[in-house]
């Protein structure tokens, strides 16, 4: 149950100050040489104006590109293990789009499935998300097709929607209320104000696609769609829900550490066995895995999709693999 308030631009300044006084760092989209990146800011003035989305997703705050899982020292006949304290600074993510906010749920589904990942959880516990509804969308966006929307509240602790003079603020969770409590006078009564956001039509029938996929495993479509794919990791790394990782060991004769790194099912070596056998030898099998993992296996295992329709993969792809387009084509294929 959300409480709605009005937060003026002036009040937002005050909120940033209150957050920083409370010892929290604020990360927000920032203009950097023509790119929109998530960076630390001190005031709303530093936040990018008129941006669509950041290039990389907010997942890097809870699932960094490099994370130390353990370290050790070695000597003759002995090894001493060191369990690192997961580092997590109290952080507020400001200006996160609803698609990316919804993605935290998909990350949580994997990291806490069956066993709990202490690194992810320590970081999640320390973040609060102030989302920002979208007033525009581009040809790569398709959040409404996958159960989301430009003003969707999933994953946000407070969701701001632009209105004249400031924002409509929906305070959604305990974390959101604790932020409000830092400066409750900044939040004016917002009842009766309508939330507006850009309208985005559905691009295809996602439940129908998910139902159709098991029967399409051997389709030649995957070969055609993936012919231009160069097998890099750009799509997986910018994606807010992609969570596949590698564990790398770095050591010298006296000590070492085990690092978790981002990985991609698109790489040829992802499934390569030591024997040389590779279950996914060609790119079409790896492309298919991307689609099926997000739209077929995820729903079956976690009860949710592995895609939030943000379109980052499409924008990042060097050869313009437009996911929305590929999915529409897949939907329209005769089963």
């Amino acid at each position: 149950m959300a409480d709605t308030f009005e937060l003026s631009h002036e009040a937002l300044n005050g909120l940033f100050a209150a957050l920083r006084k409370d010892g929290r760092r604020v990360l927000a989209p920032v203009d950097s040489d023509g790119r929109t990146e998530l960076n630390e800011v001190e005031s709303p003035a530093q936040v990018a104006k008129d941006y669509l989305q950041t290039i990389l997703s907010a997942k890097e705050v809870v699932f960094p590109k490099v994370e130390r899982l353990l370290s050790y020292t070695t000597g003759p006949g002995k090894v001493e293990l060191k369990d690192p304290e997961p580092k997590a600074l109290p952080t507020v993510l400001f200006g996160v789009r609803p698609c990316e906010a919804a993605a935290f749920g998909a990350l949580d589904a994997v990291f806490n499935w069956d066993t709990r990942d202490s690194f992810f959880n320590a970081r999640m516990a320390q973040i609060a998300v102030i989302g920002l509804s979208c007033t525009k969308a581009d040809a790569a966006c398709f959040c409404t097709t996958v159960g989301g929307g430009p003003a969707d509240t999933r994953g946000s602790d407070i969701l701001l929607s632009p209105i004249e003079g400031g924002f409509l603020a929906e305070v959604l969770t305990e974390k959101g209320r604790s932020i409000q409590a830092l400066a409750p006078e900044l939040f004016q009564d917002g009842r009766g104000i309508d939330k507006t956001a850009v309208k985005l039509d559905k691009a295809f029938d996602q439940p129908a696609l998910t139902a159709k996929l098991p029967g399409m495993f051997d389709s030649a479509l995957w070969v055609d769609q993936s012919l231009r794919c160069i097998g890099c990791g750009a799509c997986a790394f910018v994606c807010p829900t992609c969570v596949c990782f590698d564990i790398q060991e770095e050591a010298d004769p006296k000590q070492g550490q085990r690092l978790r790194c981002w990985d991609s099912c698109g790489y040829r070596m992802f499934t390569l066995h030591a024997s040389g056998h590779n279950p996914r030898e060609v790119q079409s099998q790896r492309w298919r895995q991307r689609i099926y993992h997000k739209f077929s296996y995820y729903p079956e295992r976690y009860g949710m999709l592995g895609c939030v329709g943000c379109g980052k993969c499409t924008r990042a792809c060097p050869v313009d693999m437009n996911l929305r387009e590929h999915l529409v084509e897949t939907s329209e294929m005769k089963a």
């Binding site: 590698d246 070492g256 990985d263 499934t271």
Partner: protein
């Protein structure tokens, strides 16, 4: 306040090393920590991630039976960075172990049935755990047959145990080597495992078949079993896949809707038939 680090391995001391065949070794490992040693339990079919500190982790089944307490064993072939580092180790050295992971062979469901184990080469280790477990619970089962083949006599693993099994009256062991792999004093069969199984012709009635081997051997053995009327629900196998976390998170072993490290590595043929052949 902080949760357990699920990626932290147990420290294990190498208690014994056996050279099974060229490039294949068995380690007997004991927990360094007394409490861990006391509390450790696993069921047959499960695997672990073994660390060579300084190089990384590698996935092997637990090759010893859960009925044997105080140690675990693993058997591996030197194939890459981690296994090469492990192969260099000596008794007394410390390695790591995370586990037990994965699902189990349902021994309770096999009570009162005949068991036929079919293994090839380096794939005997996962079944060796099951075989010893079953032998340790002998009166649960009826006839136990083991068919094991390798490329050559030198490549047969667990040579001492093969001798022990051949001398037991409560099981039948058939060993074979590929044509050309026999030595002048070889007393076992000569032939690939699939035709040897066909020749042996075990009855499918009230029988469970457990198969493990290199992809080509499995590919050719399954039709033989089907010809012998084994239904897919009574053919078991254990898969190997590239793994990193062993916990169903890193995505590497994801095959169809299944994670081999969680929903497997033990599968019936019926279950495998529902998965894409991406293993």
């Amino acid at each position: 306040m902080s949760e357990t680090n699920i990626y932290l391995p147990n420290l294990m001391r190498i208690a014994k090393i056996t050279e099974e065949s060229p490039a294949v070794k068995t380690f007997r490992l004991e927990f360094v920590d007394e409490v861990a040693a006391q509390n450790f339990e696993f069921k047959t079919g499960q695997f672990g991630l073994y660390s060579a500190f300084g190089e990384g982790e590698s996935t092997f089944c637990i090759a010893s039976s859960p009925t044997r307490k105080g140690y675990i064993e693993c058997t591996f072939r030197e194939a890459g960075r981690v296994t090469a580092a492990l192969a260099d180790k000596e008794v007394g050295d410390i390695v790591g172990f995370r586990g037990p992971y994965g699902n189990v062979f349902p021994l309770e469901d096999w009570q009162g049935k005949n068991l036929v184990f079919i293994a090839g080469g380096i794939a005997l280790p996962p079944l060796r755990s099951v075989i010893w477990n079953c032998l340790d619970l002998r009166d649960w089962f009826k006839d136990i047959t083991v068919v094991y083949g390798a490329r050559s006599v030198a490549d047969l693993v667990y040579k001492h145990e093969l001798k022990e099994w051949s001398e037991r009256s409560d099981m039948q062991l058939v060993t074979t080597v590929d044509p050309g792999g026999e030595t002048p004093d070889w007393k076992g069969k000569v032939g690939f495992v699939p035709p040897v199984v066909e020749q042996l012709g075990p009855s499918a009635e009230n029988t469970i078949a457990i198969v493990c081997g290199p992809p080509i051997m499995i590919k050719l053995t399954l039709p033989v079993l089907q010809k012998l009327s084994f239904p897919p629900e009574r053919i078991f196998t254990t898969l190997e896949n590239r793994m990193k976390c062993g916990l169903g998170k890193c995505g590497r072993c994801n095959t169809g809707k299944s994670f081999v490290c969680k929903d497997g590595p033990v599968y019936t043929l019926a279950q495998l038939n529902e998965l894409p052949a991406e293993y």
